[in-house]
Structure formats: structure tokens, C-alpha cells
């Protein structure tokens, strides 16, 4: 689409490899011995009841939390949150509070594109917003958007930046029918581009439409 930071991409390697991952909070173990892989162009859904550790797994994979034990590799490189290359490869949307309070939607996207090396961020940001059905809200401040519109904008930030692995926590939440169709289109495009997609969801329809594999997390471990 336009020139930006290039993310090193190697089709013959796994995009994500999680081996024997454990995550504990004090004496409580949330995840134990998790093994998981995501290949290029593959979408993996993480499902399971509330409290089974879906979000915790995604936070560890995106570098926001550190696993208590085990290995996480992105493109065959051990994940270290402070490593710029590792951070360049992962685009994650785990909640909606992901905007500057005083920056309107279009400027936020333009700044994001600019930060990642886009040469014409303003027009590209406007086009992305238009495609996502948010064109009329370009100058709206994020707190003024409805929760569904904010969700779309948050997802857009993920699809606008360079990435190798897309990590999404219940991306379908609060989206209307059009929004869900847009999301499914975007995720299919991600797979076509050879990116890996890892998402947690309770939505069977989204899982059957997008996921190539499903990882079911069990009950909360004692």
C-alpha cells in the first residue's frame, strides 16, 4: 500500500512459538505448560471459560506481561519486550483505552502511520477511517466515540501498523453487524498477507469463519 517500516518475514519459520509457558500470580497458577504455535497465514483462536487465562496468555505473547516460566519466540527470536525488533513484529489490541485523550481519531492514526515510516500519513489515515466506516468521525476525540466505534478504531490501529503477528482479545466485542463483517474481511486479509493471527474469543461464528485451529484453555488451575 505505501512505504513503511519493513517487518522481516520468513515463510518457512513459525511466526509464534510458545513452549511450556506458565503464568502464576502469587500462589495462584493461571496457565501451566502451554504449548502453542502460529504459522504464517494462519489464524489461531483461543477459547475457554472466563478465568481460564485467555487474556493472560495474550498479554504474555504481546510482551505486556512476563511469563513465569517457559519460552515465547516470535519469528524464532525469544520475546523480549524491550527489544525494538520484537516490538515491531507484534500488533496487539487487548483493550480500548489505547488513545491519547486529546488527539482526534484521524490524527491518532496519522501519527501512528508517521511513527512507522509512512510518507503520506494524513491521506492514508483518512482512507483507513473511511474504509472502517468512521470517515465522518475523523475529528472526534476518542472519549466521544461510542464503545463500538472506539473498538473499530482500536482494531484499525492494529491493521495500520507494520506487523507479523496480530494479537486480539475478543475483537468482535461491541461491534455491530457491519463492524463484524469488516473485522472478518480484515482478518482474512491478514491471512492472505501471510501474517499470523492469534485471537481470544467466545464467538463460535468468528471462530469458524477465521480460525484454522482452536486452542481451548481449561478451567482455572489451582
Amino acid at each position: 500500500m505505501h512505504k513503511r517500516d519493513d517487518v522481516p518475514h520468513s515463510d518457512d519459520r513459525l511466526i509464534l512459538s510458545v513452549r511450556g509457558m506458565t503464568k502464576s500470580f502469587a500462589a495462584k497458577t493461571i496457565l501451566a505448560g502451554i504449548d502453542l504455535t502460529v504459522s504464517p497465514g494462519e489464524a489461531v483462536a483461543v477459547t475457554g471459560p472466563n478465568g481460564s487465562g485467555k487474556t493472560t496468555l495474550l498479554r504474555c505473547v504481546s510482551g505486556l506481561d512476563r511469563a513465569s516460566a517457559g519460552a515465547i519466540e516470535v519469528a524464532a527470536v525469544p520475546l523480549r519486550e524491550h527489544d525494538p525488533d520484537a516490538r515491531r513484529r507484534i500488533a496487539a489490541v487487548l483493550d480500548d483505552a489505547e488513545f491519547f485523550v486529546d488527539v482526534p481519531a484521524v490524527e491518532h492514526l496519522a501519527l501512528l502511520l508517521l511513527a512507522h515510516g509512512d510518507r503520506d500519513p494524513d491521506s492514508h489515515a483518512a482512507k483507513l477511517l473511511e474504509d472502517a466506516g468512521l470517515g465522518e468521525l475523523a475529528m472526534q476525540l476518542p472519549v466521544g466515540l461510542s464503545s463500538g466505534q472506539r473498538r473499530r478504531l482500536a482494531l484499525l490501529t492494529c491493521f495500520a501498523r507494520p506487523r507479523l503477528l496480530v494479537v486480539l482479545d475478543e475483537p468482535e466485542q461491541r461491534l455491530d453487524r457491519d463492524g463484524r463483517r469488516w473485522l472478518i474481511r480484515q482478518l482474512r486479509k491478514e491471512k492472505e498477507l501471510g501474517h499470523g493471527v492469534l485471537f481470544a474469543t467466545h464467538d463460535r461464528e468468528l471462530t469458524s469463519d477465521i480460525a484454522d485451529r482452536v486452542v481451548e484453555l481449561g478451567r482455572v488451575l489451582a
Binding site: S62, G63, L64, P84, D85, R87, R88, I90, A91, A92, V93, L94, D95, A97, E98, F99, F100, V101, D102, V103, P104, E107, L111, L112, L114, A115, H116, R119, P121, D122, M139, Q140, L141, P142, V143, G144, T157, C158, R161
Partner: protein, 460 residues
């Protein structure tokens, strides 16, 4: 729901509910314990109130300490006007009457006049504002030759402001008028500080403040009349205050309580920023030149263009500081320069604060979030340099390095607090046990401010 004549009074409803609560929860022994606890709290509050009123009374009774034409006469006037302008701003932002979700539901569903339910809150608010303004005014007004008159007039003005704010909550016209009054008072305060700082018109204004007893009586009388009029309008307005207006300030009260509980004023400023964004809704476009359009500085630049108040605040703080030069001296002046500098540099770290608060926001920009952080620090440093330049003529020469570095570092450390670690042991303090990590976080920035003050005082 419009106000209707109540089949039962609010007092009766409250009494019935209280009785039901007591019957449902309490044994005789626990009721005695509850009364005992309340008695202790009441005794403490009475003691505090008495202790607070005493200096007020002393200040009103004692003669002023300044000669009639001393510069501090005008200083006192400027400070008091500034406090009134600030009170109007805070009261408008805070509601001033606010209601929790439960109370709003109660207002919506109870067939009792809204005025009856809101009256105790309104009276408590007016009394609190009057007492607070009196407490603030007394020690400042005491400096002036007409200290007693100033204190009385200021308490009256505080009462007027509080009642007018309640009235403004029900009327858009009154709200606009109150806003305009606040602007005029703020402008008056700025002009008075400007006159003090530059010396222009200082003598004339000072002599104008030395009013005759007849004029003083007329001023007090007009304050009383204005107070009565505002109170009457506020009382009538209580029935017309809608739920949206009561909801508006509730977040601020909640954040205020949390900020007080955690001693963290940033919690309050975050909420104010969000409230401002909510009120504005849409941001106006800012024209960017070709260079800025492709520069990561555009975030900082557009923020300053949209909120010129951040820059104006630097000018106002410099004005206040220069106005203090003829009145204060020595280490107090140095301390004021550093503290005012900290206050103007801290808001410039908005980008840094938001990136630090929201780790997921950082991940969006990763790995380029660091460049945004550097630019935010750059804006803080630039502001600190400008502030140092504005205040340097009366500070030690070494402040040229100490001040910008110290202020930038203090702002950086203040906004980059890590999340609170509750697992660390609590420390006993006069106000109860506080997690040691909270103390460590609270002093992160201010400790550097204190360090800069001590350093400059020792050098000077």
C-alpha cells in the same frame, strides 16, 4: 420528572429509611457503639472547626501589618481575586452539586420535590465554601491595612460564588454570566499582578484600595444584598437542576476523593483532561506546514495550538512570580520560583504521562514510542529553559543549569510512576498505615523539586 407537591416530605422519607436501617442492622450494643463513634468524630470536627475559626477571628480583630501604600496591599488584592476566579472555575467543573448513581436514581423515582432532597447538599456546599474562603482569606488579608474588611468581603464573595454556582447549574444564562464573572476576576487578578511586577499604576491602585469607612460599609452592604439575591435564585433553581447536571460533577468528586486518598493530584488532572475532551467532542483541525506534517513533533505542536492556555500559563506564572519579587525575598522567593516552574513544566509532559499510563498505547507505536517520549521530554526541557530565562535575573547564576535539569527530571519522574506495589509492607503514619511503595512513588518527583530548592538556596 417534574417537581410535584409531595405526598410525603423528604425529611419523613429520610427518617423512615434511617429507622429501617437501624432496625435491620443494629443490636442495642452496636447502636451504642455507633453513637459513640459518631460522637468522637463530631468532637474532632468541632475541635478542628474551632481551631480554624480562631485564627480567622484573630485576623479580623487585629489591625493589618502593612503600611497603606506598601506593595503587598496590591499583592493581597491580586491573590484574593485570583482565588475567587479559581473557585468559580472549580465549582463549575465540579457541578457544584453532584449526585452518585444511587442518589440520581433516588431523585428520579421518589415523588418528593427535588429542592427538598438537594437543599441539605446545597446548604452544606455554601457553608463549606464560605468557611474555606474565610480560612484562606484571613491570613492573606491580615497583611493588608484593612484586613478585617477584606476578610469579611471575601467570605461574602465566596458565599455569592457558591450560591451563584448552584443557580448556574440550572440555568445556561446564569452559567454563562458566572463564567464571564470568573474571566473578569481572573483578568483583574492578572492585571494587579502585572502592575506589581512592572510597577505600572502600582501607586494609584494601592491608594485606591485604601477606601473610606463609608465606602467600606457600602461595599459590605452590596455584598450582603448580592448574597441574598443569589441565595434566593439558587433556592428557586434547586427544583430545576436536571440529572445530567448532577452527574456532570460526580466523576470529579470521585476522582477528588481518590486523589486525596492516594495523595495523587495526577488522578484528578487525568479526569479533568478526559472531562475536557468529553465537553469538546470534536477537535478543531490545526494547519501543519510540510515539515511538521512529516514530523513526530506534530503531536506536541497540535496540542499547544489547541491548548494555548498551556503557554499562557507560563506567562501568568512568570507574572505572579515577578509580582512576588517586591513582596517576598530570600529562600521563599527561590522556593516559589522552583515550585511555580514545576507547576508549568508538569502539564507539558502530557504525552509521556499518557504513554506511561497506557502500556497498550505504547505497544501501538512500538518500537517508535521512544521517539515520542523523547519529544515529550524535549518540550518539558524547553519549557523549563524558558522558565529559567524568565526568572533568572533574581536567582543564583548556577540556576541556569540546575533549574532546567531539575525541573525536567522532576516532571519526568512524577509522570513515570510505576504501578503501585501493594505487596510491600505498610508504614505507620499519623494518618494511618500507608503502603511504603505509595510513599516512594509520591516523593519521586517532588523530592527532586525539594533538592533543587535546597541546592539553589545553599548556592545563593
Amino acid at each position: 420528572m417534574s417537581a410535584i407537591d409531595a405526598p410525603i416530605t423528604a425529611r419523613a422519607v429520610r427518617h423512615r429509611l434511617r429507622q429501617r436501617r437501624i432496625q435491620a442492622q443494629q443490636t442495642t450494643r452496636s447502636q451504642i457503639a455507633r453513637v459513640y463513634e459518631k460522637a468522637i468524630v463530631a468532637a474532632i470536627l468541632l475541635g478542628v472547626a474551632a481551631g480554624a475559626v480562631h485564627p480567622l477571628w484573630t485576623a479580623m480583630a487585629a489591625p493589618g501589618v502593612l503600611a497603606p501604600n506598601a506593595p503587598a496591599q496590591l499583592f493581597v488584592f491580586a491573590v484574593l481575586l485570583g482565588i475567587l476566579a479559581m473557585s468559580i472555575r472549580i465549582l463549575r467543573a465540579a457541578g457544584p452539586l453532584a449526585a452518585s448513581a444511587a442518589f440520581r436514581f433516588w431523585l428520579l423515582t421518589t415523588p418528593v420535590r427535588r429542592r427538598d432532597l438537594l437543599r441539605p447538599r446545597a446548604m452544606a456546599l455554601v457553608a463549606a465554601v464560605a468557611a474555606a474562603t474565610g480560612l484562606v482569606a484571613a491570613p492573606i488579608a491580615h497583611l493588608a491595612a484593612t484586613g478585617a474588611l477584606l476578610t469579611a468581603a471575601f467570605v461574602g464573595a465566596g458565599t455569592i460564588v457558591a450560591t451563584a454556582a448552584v443557580w448556574a447549574q440550572a440555568s445556561a444564562t446564569a452559567d454563562r454570566a458566572l463564567h464571564a464573572v470568573g474571566q473578569v476576576l481572573g483578568a483583574g487578578s492578572t492585571l494587579a499582578f502585572g502592575s506589581l511586577a512592572t510597577g505600572v499604576g502600582r501607586t494609584g491602585l494601592n491608594s485606591a484600595l485604601g477606601v473610606s469607612s463609608v465606602t467600606a460599609f457600602s461595599i459590605l452592604l452590596s455584598v450582603v444584598v448580592a448574597g441574598i439575591v443569589c441565595a434566593a435564585f439558587a433556592y428557586r433553581a434547586l427544583d430545576r437542576i436536571d440529572l445530567g447536571a448532577l452527574k456532570h460533577g460526580h466523576g470529579l468528586w470521585t476522582a477528588g476523593r481518590a486523589a486525596a486518598g492516594f495523595f495523587d493530584v495526577l488522578l484528578l488532572s487525568d479526569l479533568l483532561a478526559e472531562q475536557r475532551a468529553r465537553d469538546v467532542g470534536y477537535a478543531r483541525p490545526v494547519a501543519l506546514g510540510p515539515w511538521l506534517r512529516r514530523s513526530r513533533w506534530r503531536l506536541e505542536w497540535t496540542r499547544l495550538r489547541r491548548r494555548p492556555g498551556l503557554v499562557v500559563r507560563v506567562g501568568c506564572a512568570a507574572l505572579v512570580w515577578w509580582a512576588c519579587v517586591p513582596v517576598l525575598s530570600g529562600s521563599v522567593l527561590v522556593a516559589l520560583a522552583v515550585i511555580l516552574g514545576y507547576c508549568v513544566v508538569l502539564p507539558m509532559a502530557a504525552t509521556l504521562r499518557q504513554l506511561w499510563m497506557r502500556p497498550t498505547l505504547r505497544t501501538q507505536f512500538a518500537p517508535h514510542d521512544r521517539s515520542l517520549i523523547f519529544r515529550s521530554i524535549g518540550v518539558c526541557a524547553l519549557t523549563a529553559v524558558v522558565w529559567t530565562g524568565l526568572t533568572l535575573p533574581t536567582l543564583p547564576v548556577l540556576a541556569i543549569v540546575t533549574m532546567p535539569v531539575g525541573l525536567t527530571a522532576a516532571a519526568y519522574r512524577t509522570v513515570t510512576r510505576p504501578p503501585l506495589d501493594y505487596s510491600m509492607p505498610p508504614v505507620g503514619t499519623p494518618i494511618g498505615d500507608i503502603p511504603i511503595d505509595l510513599i516512594r512513588q509520591l516523593v519521586r518527583g517532588p523530592l527532586l523539586v525539594v533538592g533543587v530548592i535546597v541546592g539553589l538556596v545553599m548556592i545563593g
